[in-house]
Every structure is written in structure tokens, then in C-alpha cells.
Amino acid sequence: MTRMCRLLPLFASVLLAAPALRAEQKAKDPKPLEVAATRDERVTVLQQEIDRLRGEMAALREEVKRLRADSAKAGDSGIAARIEAIEARQAKLEAELARIAEELKQTGDALDQISEGDRKRPAITVYGTLQATKYDDRDSIFDAEAFEIVLSGRPHPRLSFFAEIEFERAASVGGPRGGEIVLEQAYVSYTFAQLFSVRTGVLLVPFGNVNVDHFAPRRDVVRKPLVSYAIAPSDWTDNGVQVAGRRLFGASWLLEYEASVIAGLDSHITSAGTRAARQPFGVDNNGNKALAGRFAIKRSTSFETGISGYTGKYDDQNRRRLDGWAADLRADIRSLRLTGEFDHFSVDRGGMEMSHLRGYYVRASYDLHGGFLRALAKDFDDPQLTLVAQYDWARIDGPNEVSGGFERNQETGFTLGVAYRPSRQWVLKVNHETNKATNRPLQRGEIKGWLGSVGFVF
């Protein structure tokens, strides 16, 4: 019994110190995110620990008191001293816990403020492409095709903005070296609900998947499909108002819609396409506003199909209609990715025959991963090599804008190439194009050659 009494303080100190130290150590070694996410809970847990410790201390005092009474050595000053030491330790621990709780609170408050401030700050992303082309019988060209700055932000849960500024061909605006700076997108959005938000500003016209997803480094080929030059004039942006919404069905099916009221295309629609009909920003050649919209079904990131429509009057007199529709598809089947789009526009040419603009592209891309690619790019996680083949077709039937005579202008293109992506941030593409034109060329003409590009997104 005597021996046990001598050992009692030791047991007591171990029993007391262990859980206390756990709490102390927890506080000393906070897991940053855990603290961040559950600061209050952790403080509560620490508080519970100290409460439990107090209870245990009280019980222990009782036990010691009883043992003192029972033991012949109840007056042992050593035991009393040990108990005092334990009580002192408890007091120290309580003070420490209070300090930690306060520190947690202050740290949390400060970080909350930083998070709040940071949320109001726009995020910046840049992307761009540099191209090199060598067509047969033409000089080779280096072309800093585009450098774009993307700003996005959400200063309030319901308010957001998205802007995209393009510096094309190393733009030196107003100087002799050409190029342009374009505000491709710049809109603010107010979200009422997932199913309904309103955007206003400079908007991408929701027409076809090339225009909606126009970020060049994401494409597997160097140039945009022919259909997006000659038929739907991408990059097609316009001033206006847009409503948009989305709804998720099941685990991964997403329905999306976008509907815009925009200034629309003007009367510069030619037998070579609609590209020249994009109006300057802030200008409308008639009082009529065009409607454009797209409805899409997506399944996670592996499947997307959409239909788009456009209608509006295009001439200065506000009499002639331009109507169009498009269907697009993107589907991933294991490593194979199929992408395509078909566009059609009908143009009322007044007293002349209607013009019909049609075009499509189909692209098959096959992704290769691992193996030799990893050996090639050891510093990257998941390098990818994409083998790609694309077929382009576009035809415009209608009266020539000068002669008035009926014309059928057609152009086709076949592209074979590779796209090497050591990471999602960088892509190297090499393509060989063979283009054929019937009658007047729509965009490329009768030409073949090599194209290369380097794209980046940061």
C-alpha cells in the first residue's frame, strides 16, 4: 500500500498530462486547412478537453483525499507537493488553451478578411498562339497570331464578370505594323439561379461549338475549321444581352441554354461568306436586333451536343432576313475524340435568289499517353500526344454581290497532324493542310502546306 501511495503521483501526472498534452499538441500543430474550416469546432473540442480535465482533476483530488485518509502517510508532504505541482500545471494549461483559442480566433478572422478581399480580386489567365506556316509556292511566315488576357471574377455570389482581351498579331494599333486589339468578351452576369442568369456586355454569340469554345490552344489543329471562317464568322462576338441557365440531371447530365439579343450581322454578306458582316462594336446598321441561341446537352466532360439558331434582319433598310442554324457534337470514346459542326445560313437577297451558306467540319483525334511520352517529358505528369485528322467543307450558293449572277463557291480542306501536350498549359501542333477550291475561294483557296504552332495557357 505504501508503495502504491508513492507511485500515485506518478500515475496521476501521467494520466493528467497525457490528454492535456494531446490537446496542447493539437493546438501546437494545427492542420492549416482543418483549422481553417473548423476553427470554431476545434476551439470547442479544446474547451471540452479542458472541461474534462477539470472533472478528472476533481475526481483525482477526491481519490487522493480518500487515500490520504486511509494511508498512514496521509501527511506525506511529498504527495501534497506533487498534487500542487499538478494543479499548477493544470492552471498553466488552461492559460495556454485560452491563449490558443484567442489566437485561433484572431488568425481565423484575419484569414477570413483576406479570403473576402481576394474573392473580389479578378483572376487572370493568359493564353496565346504563335504560328509558322509554309504553303507551297509561298513564303514561309511566322505569325504571333494572338495573345489574350482573360479576366474573371466574382465579387459577389450573384455577380460575376468575364472579359477576354485579344492582342492579335503583336498588335501595334494605329501604327504601320498592323494587328488589332479586340475585346472579345466583356460581360457582367447576374445569377438569379442556376437556371437563370442575365449577362450583358460584349458576348460570344452562342452559335456552334467552334465559336463557343474558341480558345485556340485547346484545339487539336492549328487553324479554326473553314466553316467558322466562311459560314459562322468566328470569333463572333457582339454587344447585347443574354440569358443563360443550366440544370444538372442525374450524376452528370447537364442541360444548358444561352439566348442573346444582339446587334447582329450587317449587309456585308458576300459570296465568300459572312465574315465581313460583323459590325463594329457600338454600331447597328438597322433597328432590328438579332436573336441567337444555343441549347446544349453535356455529359460530364466527355460528351456535348448542341443546336444553335440565329435570326435577324441584316440590311440597312431592315427588310432582309438572315436565318441560320447549327448542330455540333463532341464525344469522347476512350482515347478517340470526335468533334464536328454543321452550319447553315439562308440569306434573303431581296429581288435575287436566296443565298445558302453551308459548311461543316469533322475531326477525329486520338490521344496517346504514357510510355515513351513520359520518357520524352519526364518533368510532366501526363504528357499527351494527339493524332488528328480533320475534314472541312463549305459551300456558298447564291448571287454574286457585284454581278448578280448565281455562283457556287466551294472549298474543302483535309488536315492531318499531331498535337503534343506535355501539360495542359502548353501545346505544340504540326499540321499538313490540303485545300481545294471550286470557283472562287472562300478562305484558303487551292493550296497545301505545313503549319506549326505553339500554344499556351497560364
Binding site: R3, L21, E41, S152, F161, K378
Partner: protein
């Protein structure tokens, strides 16, 4: 540490939580093996020679933790012995200092003990541990935490001592006083009474370990720390030959002498144990004990790092140059083979780097390296490792050369397996990262098998937060619905998930569906809006009682 917290929580556009780095120093990081309170251990590869290693880094700027890390590195770095885990590299200049340790194939002694082994096999382990400790003592290092989980059994059957996290380098006199550290069942009585460490306290712990190895149970194990301490102080374990009559008498006597409560009455050093083991190796039938390895007699700083495989006294005499040449060629050939084998991914089943921070249950592979830097309180009772129980069938079917590899710390404790009746659970005195579960009521002071059971509240297992190891894909496009596969361990149906932007719930991106596939896989469907600011966000899981997992970084791209 506060700066580190600050840095990690810096919101948005920067990683909110550390992701697996691509490189640490010159080493290519293959995967995270485990994460502890203040450090992480990675499986890495030396890009120049293709050797796989365990890399332990310390997170944060807590000077105490850095000091302990440096201390550990210095201790291990000063020891070069084939039965002690080797330090291969160390960089203290980086923001996150790291040490690189050899990757050990095999299993922890605690797991090894659960399987039957012959006396010769056990004698090999005994010899290795004793030689390692003797060598450490000769070089002025007390281990102070000798226990099964700090010993790794290699596929060859040899043992390696590791986890020098609380080891103490002493100057001159090999006795140290100070804070009480260690694991209750293996603490010598004089540590509990007077907090005095000496080579004899390491000898005592080693003897407890050997007793456990021979008999299958720790002689002082109890259900509570208090009971275990009582046993250590008062209980005289029965002669080891009661349970193992096949152990030679001299070895048994020496072992029991090493367990004497009075340190002065224990043998001086490990010589007696080693001698008894050598004698025993010739006694019992069965395969002869392999040659023991010589204990280097020179100071650690000058000790060769190569293994002295010859038995004591069997050093080749001078003038036998041809044999030396043959030996050298053999060593080179073996190194070549090892190098070649290490170039290919090791079929790792489990990894151990440091027992003080066990690898999460489902985070195989595992490798053993060294302890996780933890705060060093005045009193610490290191918990018994809560290691994933191995699949028996597989373990039995596994050929020796495919034995699990052990490597690293145990960031989050997994619930310990049900203890076998012969081996009562060791009491744990540390908490998992977050333990919202109320702690148990005060335990009775004494609770040993020999004593009258005192009514007590059952000690509920601490709730360990799930561990997340990876998310795929890690990046996805804005304006998309994306199904992310989150892998980890301890995942449960009652978890919820959220996405943080910095410290705040993110707007414009949310978790719309959570599918529990299994305890190691969860599918999370995320919906992001087209106007969502591009950049980094953090996916976290929440459980009952405020339990929160660590975060996984996800990136929203164009």
C-alpha cells in the same frame, strides 16, 4: 508554424493545400506515403541512379520542429550500421527541410511477430537489434524508444532499427535525465521513477521486445496506460522458458536479467545477450543462425557505411588479396543487380517510414524511413502503431522477395485492429488530427490482468478523419459538370463535401452529387459556372461532429 498556416491558407489562385510536389531537391517524387502533423513522407527516386528512397519533409517554420528534424538527421547521420536505417541525404537549407532515407523492403516487427517464426529466425532478429543498439551506444546515442514498430524486418530476415526521433545524443556519460518519453510497456522502471535514461534502459526495452518476440505477448501490456505503468513498476514477468521451453537456458537467463527492475543488476551492454544468442544458434535443431554482423568499433563518423557481413572474429587475415578482389567484384555485382531491380517499380504492399506517423490504411505502398517530427512535450507515450492488418492469405502466399516495404509516418491513425487475446492493446496517448469525439472518462489507476478489474468506462476509439490521397481529374474546364474520383481511406457514406475558395465556401462552383463507392473511393460531381474565376480551389469532406478532411486542390481551367 503560424507563417506556414498563413501560407497554406492563402486563398484562391494559389494552392490552398499542398499537393504532391514533383520534385524535392533532386529527387523525383513518386507519391505521398504519409502525412503527419508537421511532416510528410514521400516515395521518391534519385533521378541519377534510379534508387528509390523515402523522403521526409517538415512542413512549416516552427523552429522547434526544425530543430528536432535537424537533431534526428544528425543522430541518424552519425550512425552507419547495417542494422540501422541509413540516412542518404539531408537538406536543411530549403524552406521545407527534408531528409532522404533508404527505402526498406519488409514489414514491421510488430506485424512480423504475429506470424510464427522459428528460433533461428528470431535469433537473427535479436542479434541485429542488439548489434544496432550496441553500436548506437558506442557512438553516444540512446534510442529511447525501442519497440517492435521501430524495427523493420527485411525480406532477408534481418532487422533494421529505425525511428531515432526521440533519440538523444549524449556527451561523455551515457546517461540522460529529463522529460519522460517512450512507450509505456517498453519504458524501464527507472525512467518512470526518475526520468533517467541510460544504455541499460535501452537494454531493458530491447529485452521486453525480445520477450514479446519469443512469447507472443508483451509482459507488461495492459488496457490502460496506468495499468501498463503499474505492471512495469511492479510486475515480474514469468521466465520466458515457461512459454518457450525451447529457448536455451543461458539465453533465457540473460534475457530475464535484462528485465530486472534495478538497472544496476542488468547486464552491462549487449555482449551477454549476443553471446547467449550465438550459443543458442548452435543448440536448437533447424537451420543454423546466419552469420552475425560485426559491430563497428570505430566512431560513427568514421564508420564505413558498408555492411560488415563477417561474423565477429572472422575478418579475413591480411594478405588474402584475391579473396578481397572476389568480394569486391561480388559487391559490385550485387549493387548492380540491386540498382537494376530498383529501377523497376517495386511491388510494394506496405510502406513504413516512421512508426510515429503510420501510413494511412489504404495508402499502400509503404516504405520505412524515419519518424515524423512531432511536438516534443514533456511527457509523451508513443502509441503502438496502428498499422493496417495485412491480408493473411496474401502475406502467406507472398514470396520473400515480395515482402512489403515499409516506409513512413502515420499521419492519421487508423483504428487499430482487434487485439489478439494474447496481446492486449497498447494504450494510446495521442489523438488523431481531429478528434471531435469526447474523450473517455478518467481511467482507473490500476488495471492489469493480475489485479481486480475496476469498473471503468470503455475507451471509445478515437475518430480518425478520412484520409484523401488523390483526385482525378485534378483540373477541369469552367462551365462544366465534372465527375471527380476521390481516393483515400476511411471514406464513409455520411460524409459531405464542399469546395473552398481560400477559407470561404466558393461561389459559382459547387458539389452537386456525392456517390459513395467504397471506403477508398468517392465520386463527386461538381458543377461550375462559365463565369467562375479560373484558378485553384479546394475540395474537402466533412463528417459528423465537425470532422474535416485535409483538402485536395482542384484547378479550374479555360
Amino acid at each position: 508554424m503560424r507563417e506556414a498556416v498563413w501560407e497554406r491558407m492563402r486563398p484562391n489562385r494559389r494552392p490552398s493545400m499542398p499537393m504532391t510536389p514533383e520534385k524535392i531537391g533532386k529527387y523525383t517524387v513518386i507519391e505521398l506515403l504519409g502525412r503527419g502533423g508537421m511532416g510528410e513522407v514521400y516515395l521518391g527516386e534519385d533521378p541519377y541512379i534510379g534508387r528509390r528512397v523515402a523522403i521526409k519533409i517538415i512542413k512549416g517554420a516552427d523552429p522547434d520542429a526544425r530543430d528536432r528534424f535537424l537533431h534526428e538527421a544528425r543522430v541518424i547521420g552519425a550512425l552507419a550500421h547495417p542494422a540501422i536505417v541509413s540516412l542518404l541525404d539531408f537538406d536543411f537549407s530549403a524552406d521545407e527541410p527534408f531528409l532522404v532515407m533508404e527505402l526498406l523492403k519488409g514489414e514491421g516487427l510488430d506485424a512480423w511477430l504475429k506470424k510464427p517464426h522459428s528460433l533461428p529466425e528470431q535469433l537473427v532478429v535479436l542479434t541485429d537489434i542488439c548489434q544496432a543498439l550496441a553500436y548506437a551506444h558506442e557512438n553516444g546515442v540512446l534510442h529511447r524508444d525501442v519497440k517492435p514498430s521501430n524495427v523493420q524486418i527485411l525480406a532477408s530476415g534481418h532487422a533494421k532499427l529505425m525511428d531515432f526521433g526521440i533519440a538523444r545524443a549524449t556527451t561523455g556519460k551515457l546517461t540522460a535525465t529529463g522529460s519522460v518519453m517512450g512507450t509505456p510497456e517498453y519504458m524501464a522502471p527507472e525512467i518512470l521513477k526518475d526520468a533517467v535514461y541510460s544504455p541499460r534502459s535501452d537494454l531493458y526495452a530491447c529485452a521486453v521486445l525480445l520477450y514479446e518476440m519469443f512469447t507472443g505477448r508483451n509482459p507488461f501490456a495492459a488496457n490502460t496506460v496506468a495499468a501498463a505503468l503499474t505492471n512495469v513498476l511492479t510486475l515480474n514477468p514469468p521466465d520466458v522458458r515457461v512459454a518457450r521451453p525451447d529457448i536455451p537456458k543461458r539465453l533465457a537467463e540473460t534475457l530475464m536479467a535484462c528485465l530486472h527492475k534495478e538497472p544496476a543488476l542488468r547486464p552491462d551492454g549487449f555482449g551477454a545477450l549476443l553471446t547467449a544468442a550465438r550459443e543458442a544458434a548452435g543448440g536448437p535443431p533447424g537451420p543454423a543462425i546466419p552469420e552475425t554482423r560485426a559491430i563497428p568499433q570505430q566512431p560513427a563518423s568514421k564508420a564505413p557505411r558498408t555492411e560488415a557481413r563477417a561474423s565477429a572474429g572472422s575478418t579475413p587475415p591480411p594478405g588474402k588479396a584475391p579473396w578481397l578482389w572476389i568480394g569486391a567484384v561480388g559487391v559490385v555485382a550485387v549493387m548492380g543487380i540491386v540498382w537494376f531491380l530498383n529501377r523497376t517499380p517495386v511491388p510494394i504492399d506496405s510502406v513504413v517510414a516512421s512508426p510515429s506517423a503510420a501510413t494511412p490504411a489504404t495508402v499502400a505502398p509503404t516504405v520505412t524511413a524515419s519518424p515524423t517530427p512531432e511536438a516534443e512535450p514533456e511527457v509523451v507515450a508513443t502509441p503502438q502503431p496502428t498499422r493496417t492488418p495485412q491480408t493473411k492469405g496474401r502475406a502467406a502466399a507472398e514470396p520473400a522477395d515480395r515482402a512489403p516495404v515499409v516506409a513512413a509516418p502515420t499521419p492519421v491513425a487508423t483504428p487499430p485492429p482487434s487485439p489478439p487475446s494474447s496481446s492486449p492493446p497498447s494504450s494510446s496517448m495521442t489523438l488523431p488530427a481531429i478528434s471531435p469525439t469526447p474523450l473517455p472518462q478518467a481511467s482507473p489507476l490500476v488495471d492489469s490482468p493480475a489485479s481486480t478489474p475496476t469498473p471503468q468506462a470503455p475507451r471509445p476509439p478515437a475518430v480518425a478523419p478520412p484520409t484523401l490521397t488523390s483526385v482525378s481529374p485534378r483540373s477541369f474546364r469552367h462551365g462544366s459538370s465534372t465527375v471527380l474520383e476521390v481516393r483515400g481511406s476511411g471514406l464513409t457514406r455520411d460524409l459531405t463535401a464542399s469546395i473552398l475558395e481560400g477559407r470561404r465556401p466558393a461561389a459559382g462552383i459547387k458539389v452537386v452529387r456525392l456517390e459513395f463507392v467504397g471506403p477508398d473511393l468517392m465520386r463527386v460531381t461538381i458543377l461550375s459556372e462559365p463565369e467562375l474565376p479560373l484558378g485553384f480551389y479546394t475540395l474537402v469532406f466533412h463528417g459528423p461532429g465537425g470532422l474535416v478532411t485535409q483538402g485536395l486542390q482542384i484547378e479550374v481551367l479555360l
